[in-house]
Symmetry: D3
Subunit: 328 residues, 6 copies
């Protein structure tokens, strides 16, 4: 109490967080027609912000949303948003940004009183702990990856390399993983060819003979964390890197496996459909990668997340940060 | 001026239309996770409202959004919304309803001050003339259907029988149709097998030897207007009906073709990729179907739309009612 | 005790049941190269035996196993086997036959002392109650069909219309269904196009507006029970029948669903991936079909199975009659 | 005569070879549900036994057959089997092992008197000469690879990387190759994408500009012989190695081609569908690989096989070691 | 000798047959860019000429060759060609017409001296006996249909409903059928889904329980002879007709099978890949259809063809009328 | 005038260019059954002639056209053709050769008077300027690549690595590109997997971070110019080269793109579906490659083509050298 409320950047202005709302006539709601990025900070410093923005601009280009400002202007808007929100954060919080760009109102709705045509640039900034509250224990016990019946949509139909909001099929995959016996089940999608694609908000990689193997950058988001592991951490540690088509057999015969995503960086995957991967516990290379990442950015990544859990939110083994509440 | 403003039903209350906005933390915006229906009236009487609501409930069931009210309660809410908005309508307006159901906030955002967990039921009511303003001339000159490079996503990956908002690929198809030479180009998608699927908001049918032929109800929305043509108008007129896989060859060798959708009911398609279908003008059966429909509901459907055009909006040959403005 | 033991027909002779074993050098074990049929009796009378044998001969023809005897000779062998085993049966038992035909030894193994070249005709006869012991309650509570990640192999690669033993993928589907939360989960496979195919030993049908709808006879076994429902029971009851491609959406919007297979004839399916079908309980048409079937053959099918359960085996909600024991 | 008979290891005991038989109620016969390995010796020394056993354990893991013993125990059982059989072998014989693991009886059959639940571990040991009797001339005249109409089943439906018995489609491919004009026709399967997969029990590789090119390890068994060629022989000889998708065009424009498999190690492929590959005779690199392999293991591989042929079995140009006898 | 030579219609003029040649710069030779029809007469009267011409015009429309004359003018040109050639025919000859329409010279070659821009209309007329010379015995012994490895190209990539010259893949299929053991092997292509498509110049149909079953009119030419059988002969004879997807299993379990094509009308298919269909000889319905066709047109179709064979050409079991000579 | 006319090599003889015509009974016209090569000279010296001929012989082998002469004889015939035509060329002309090999007459037409059985070898030689007349400005303004709805036929159905004439689908792609708004639109086909394949007579490559990236050599012609860029120019310039599957996303995020083909060597592609690639103008690496190529062969490639344009033909923004005239 006493802290000021969070605000959201909205086309050059700031609005209270609860007022950051999109018109039902916006193309974002009519067509899932919104591209976005989500970032995080380490000790308050944004990580790979420029890479996120470049991918955002590539997404806009692909779906033909005309860029409403230069990338430099966008970067300035991001920092203004962080500055505006900092008073509302705890000292041990990290800043999680959500940057949305929608095309705006469909033309037939442009005349509605009180509505402004697009595109819309929206930048929210909230504590990272929200996202990772249920994940603290996973650094030690690991995830059970579940291959659901739902397949990834291949890039030629709806390209996942575009970070966009038309992805209710990811929710369907989460529903299916949520119906599986056991706990800490996260969905891991196959593409229609049967190749491992990605989770519903995270990249999946395996380790075999100290080589890091990733699915080809085709039917997946080319995640910033995945790129950091493949292009920076692996060379730093002298680990080889391969991108190729992999299948469940390759996962079951791998030594280790892990997920990458911006909020948690790296989480071990210890089994596939309940069958152990390697020794069925977090692997050495996985741990080394996470540890080195933490050293590079000056944060003990797992411990920080576990500290947030300890303080407050109960760990409930939620299937993923994108879960929704079940009807009880 | 002087007329009261339109209002939108929002979980049991009415809010001004410009306030009908969805939180950026809602699953609808995070995942395109919203199902919906759009209806219209004839002379102020809603057409096939119950069928629309039943499809809405099937969509909710499929994506596992728990029904927030019974279908009867939903129907009452619809009529309350119409009643609340009627003073804001012109006497010659028809009521176009948009009924959205979103799953609501992702669980990690549920604690945000000022936000309420879902699901959300949203019912908007606005003049149909907005949607059809650019279409008056098409009843006479017809549409040129364009097969874009973008393919329909097959049902097994993201089922179009679910009327949902994850469909930025439809926008991509519209962009491609919009890049084609000529005018009145509407996208007509093939599915990955190369079968004719549907437009980006309308069903496509052909007529051959006085038999109405529709793509199978598989990789398409099973449109209410399509159902009305196949199950009520055709029998009324003694026309045979077939649902089967059709391909561009079948279209080019058909006698007639048309689109169906709620706002305009039936629009003739006179060419495919600029190559004439039949005689390259609206067909007899097409005209008969539209005319009979109008008689059944007591409205001259084409003339009503043309009258709205005459009064106001200029006809600009927009590719579809879902067009967005190009950057100039 | 006191009862004689069961015997198995083996190329014209009878061997004790426990001696009915196939050489490890037989093509049946080397390549899954064996075709088969499984039948049942009602009140001791074999049902549709001739149809089963005709399908067996079609399977042999397809895989080029030269027929070792005429179909009439095969029929006689079947009856001899039943006769030979009848003394070993309880009076309330029904005869379940398993007729296997293997190609026999691979040629490189033909010289092994003590082994005889093929083909081999094997006819076993055992009490039906074994197979259905765990199913008694399902006539009332119904099956929860689970769509596993494993897809059906399409006919062009390995035709399921051939009743053959190369089907470890069915076991994989059962494993996945067995990993799902809840109970009475039976696998229901999609084919690679996403169409509903079949269970791992049963056909799946739905009922909509009192029409019985079956997947096309393509990527499924054309089950004798399915044929009986479609070609005899439905006409007898004045029900329409349609064979077409169906998808999960069609199942979720159906009124009823059921499985057919020789041992249990008809079992209601009340949900798909835990989402209710129709009212979520056995449907009227389903019950009528089962009842009529029973009247036609003079056996209360459900009650007979339930009586066996009551007498002995505990009902454990096994996923299917083809389950294997889990490691504990 | 006078030699003792061969015995087969059966769950810890030895049984006469002709008694090594699997119950008709075993999952192996019900579902093709058995994984296996086949090895060979050189001068009586097993080759890559540990690699074979590791693959066997990967296969068990994939299909969820619980391991009935440790891999070390399995290795000991193998050596016991060899020891038990050695007296039955000629001095110039090599030991061919067949190690089968079946899941065992389906649970509904577990009560049958005289039968024991699984899993079953079966180890047979017989003279390699049986398998290769018809191949002696092929080291000089080479194989004509035939692309049959039957396609390989892709890994996502039934993974060939799992060495399992559900593979009647391989027999279908052999039937088709057997119907082709000419002699020494061995089937070479395409996968559904049209890429070269494998033979029906052997891997296929080509040589172009002294680089050995293998299909990717995806829709094929990752053969131990193939691995030996790619990872040991090629480096030893300074030859480059590439794994990539190849098509018939690549084969027809290659310099050489060969098959690898445990019994014969390497056999030249001199034509594809009767069209010569390279100069239409065994290639230099192929010969060098075979020769070097022989030197490494101290056996002239081709000559040994040819010596067995000379002694006894007539060479009949059989399509493959897995052939079955045609009906005459 | 003494007879005048045949002439070919060429854009309104007649040229000697050997001068009917197309420039190497014509799009027909550059891109296989030519559509065509081939007809025949019965007792000198053209059969279904109008239907052939209508299909020709549909083909032109599909590939966007601008029609160089009306369909009526085309029909007149056909009759002029017949008239011009009649003196060169034997009295017992039938007229086989080949009508080609090419787009003409590519624009970059239009300036070449002595060449004229297109389109080109070419009408040849030659004795039908050429085409059927090797087929006389097939009316009695029947064809062995061979499923080659080559698949039909699906309509979405290159529509076989367009009768066009880009079809070297048909020659590849013929090569493969020609490499098969036995004689009278005609290729029967599967489409990529594994459904029976067509021969390389003929349609394939089966008969089951006196119902004529044809593959759907999708990945096949919708042959005029096939249409005649399905729409005229079958109703005349009271036979049911079904068009649906069929597979090899359906063929092997059919009662009869036959090919249709303009030159021979109907030829029995008695086996598939050497496995008998029905009783392995021409079927009753097949014979009835051919006989009735002959009565309708006043020609004993089989006997006429056999008479031509008797007179001259030796019957050599050629795989199809489109065969090319093998290199000797 | 005064100059002698061009002649065409025809099976060992020379005929006037306008007489270089193929019989309508030739397999080339019946089945698109002709393989070919097209070459060019620089300063009158043929470029990579041997590589073209080797590919021609690979094409003949693949489609089983028996080679009518050795490759050395073919090479001599080429040079004879050039020599025979040189007097007809301007001094600044380059020689464009078209070498066609057809299988010849179908066997049923072999008896026609005046016709000779095949195969036929045809070598034409004409000024390169014809082909490139419309392209001069493209070196500076670049091509707009259009992804048409028409997909490339995958190699397993009709291999584009075989340079053959069955390719009316390329014309369909050109028609679609020609219907697009804007100018200098060249078709760029996707294969059925959605990967970038090739243009309708040219290869497509991109540049990213100074690495040249080409689609894998699978569903494309392995162009001689593409090979020269990848295997000779890139190493010469120290540029890395990668062959992998690429998609539209990769093109839109590339730095540069270009087409290669024999007549123009390299042309910049500056946009994809009107969306700029890189800076939307010819890229640095592209220009460097073209310049270096020119230096290697002693011709300023762009300037030479532009000089021909200036002299005569008007630049009309034709979609490709393979365009046909539109009907006006």
């Amino acid at each position: 109490m006493g802290k000021p409320g969070r605000v959201v950047y909205w086309n050059g202005e700031f609005v209270p967080e609860s007022e950051a709302r999109v018109s039902i006539y916006d193309s974002a709601l009519m067509f899932g027609d919104m591209v976005f990025e989500m970032t995080r900070s380490f000790n308050g410093v944004q990580f790979k912000l420029r890479e996120h923005l470049e991918r955002l601009y590539a997404s806009m280009k692909y779906v033909r949303i005309p860029a409403p400002m230069t990338i430099e202007e966008m970067e300035r808007a991001v920092y203004q948003t962080i500055e505006a929100n900092s008073p509302a954060f705890e000292t041990d919080d990290e800043h999680r940004l959500m940057i949305d760009v929608s095309r705006g109102l469909l033309s037939i709705y442009e005349g509605i009183e009180g509505l402004t045509p697009g595109p819309n640039v929206i930048i929210a900034d909230f504590p990272l702990r929200w996202t990772v509250a249920s994940m603290g224990h996973l650094f030690e016990s690991g995830i059970n990856a579940i291959i659901p019946s739902q397949r990834a949509i291949p890039a030629t139909l709806l390209d996942p390399k575009i970070k966009n909001r038309s992805r209710v099929h990811y929710l369907m995959a989460n529903v299916q993983a949520g119906n599986t016996s056991g706990k800490d089940n996260w969905a891991l999608l196959l593409d229609p060819d049967g190749f491992i694609a990605e989770g519903t908000g995270d990249n999946f990689l395996i380790v075999k003979d100290r080589t890091i193997i990733s699915p080809e950058g085709r039917n997946i988001l080319r995640g910033i964390s995945r790129e950091y592991v493949l292009r920076e951490l692996a060379p730093q540690l002298g680990l080889d890197v391969v991108e190729k088509n992999i299948e469940p057999y390759d996962v079951l015969t791998a030594d280790e496996a892990f997920m990458t995503a911006t909020p948690f960086c790296i989480l071990p995957v210890v089994s596939l459909d309940a069958e152990p991967i390697g020794e069925g516990k977090p692997g050495e290379v996985t741990s080394l990668l996470l540890e080195t990442w933490g050293e590079n950015v000056g944060v003990d990544i797992a411990r920080q997340i576990q500290s947030w859990v300890a303080e407050g939110a109960s760990s409930t083994g939620a299937p993923s940060p994108y879960a929704f509440k079940r009807q009880s």
